[in-house]
Amino acid sequence: MNPAGTWDLSISTPIGKIKAVVDLHEKAGIWRGTAHGAGEEIPLHDVALDENRLTWKQPITKPMRLNLTFDVLLDGDTMTGTSKAGRLPSSGVTGQRRAD
């Protein structure tokens, strides 16, 4: 599956659920991405696509500083899976791809 595009995510953090925007694109067979929020852009790390399973790592700074690891399954314009902050239990994450 091709995850290219802009995704709106809902992420659970210890201080509550937050919204995040992630841009994904491919260049020469390598997937890259950036996270947007609170006027800053943060590159995603270790973006990997295996069939319809997408994984990446993302440090967030607002509203709280947190290192997150994502593991989601893609289905059309929807992604569903988990995000995990360090040793904390993983929590559900959902995302919707924006229409161009």
């Binding site: 659970s12 953090t13 210890p14 201080i15 509550g16 659920k17 937050i18 440090p59 700074t61 509203p63 709280m64 500083r65 947190l66 290192n67 902050a85 360090g86 040793r87 904390l88």
Partner: protein, 228 residues
């Protein structure tokens, strides 16, 4: 030496009062070698704690340019994560027994994080914390790659914030000295007295308070222990 203990809505009273009393006794024992006051990011005001609505009065604004100690207490509330976490919304009125990380998260939407950053950046300030106070610093992105402790239930959150969480009662990382859960504020206060004023003053206060400091103060120094 001057110590500012920073109150914020939902703070844990014991986290603030234990070091306040220890440092104040240190003031007497040292003939004024250290002074201590309660402050808030917003200036003088009554600050409602997270314990039964108990209030303490902050008598001044937090001044991060002032040399000395800035000490951040944690919050008191529920330690059980709710089945469904609400959306992050610091504007929502607080409720009693709120989940502690949510309470701490509210403080991130005040002037406090910017003032704490100034304090962290000031080479003349030692920033200290008790219990969840280090999580306020960590959530604000101020403990990147720093060694710190917090309440044992919060160590995984601290670690996920980019800090190195150490399971010790007091951790000394130079200009950052952090204490673990609630009562460790007594130990942290005694250690700060010993470090900043001297061991005889710290010992006199320890004796007066009938509380012998527990555990080794962890520092990143000496050999790393092999697995036991």
């Amino acid at each position: 030496m001057h110590a500012q203990i920073v109150l914020f809505d939902g703070f844990d009273p014991l986290d603030a009062i234990a070091p306040f009393e220890v440092l104040h006794a240190g003031r007497v024992a040292s003939g004024g070698g250290i002074t201590v006051e309660l402050v808030s990011a917003e200036g003088p005001r009554e600050v409602v704690s997270g314990t039964g609505g108990l209030r303490l009065r902050a008598t001044a604004s937090l001044r991060p340019a002032l040399a000395g100690i800035v000490l951040v207490p944690g919050a008191s509330g529920s330690v059980s994560e709710p089945a469904e976490l609400p959306d992050y919304d610091p504007a929502r009125p607080p409720k009693q027994d709120e989940y502690i990380p949510v309470l701490l998260g509210r403080a991130l939407d005040t002037a406090l994080p910017a003032l704490l950053k100034e304090a962290m950046d000031n080479p003349q300030v030692t920033v200290a914390s008790v219990c969840g106070g280090s999580l306020v610093l960590a959530m604000a992105g101020l403990l990147e790659d720093r060694y710190a402790t917090t309440h044992h239930l919060g160590l995984d959150v601290l670690d996920a914030s980019g800090a190195h969480a150490v399971h010790a009662r007091v951790v000394d990382d130079g200009d950052l000295v952090t204490g673990a859960g609630v009562t460790s504020g007594l130990d942290l206060g005694l250690y700060l007295l010993e470090r900043e004023i001297g061991p005889q003053v710290a010992h006199a206060v320890e004796e007066l308070f009938a509380h012998e400091r527990r555990g080794v103060v962890w520092r990143k120094h000496g050999p790393t222990p092999a697995p036991l």
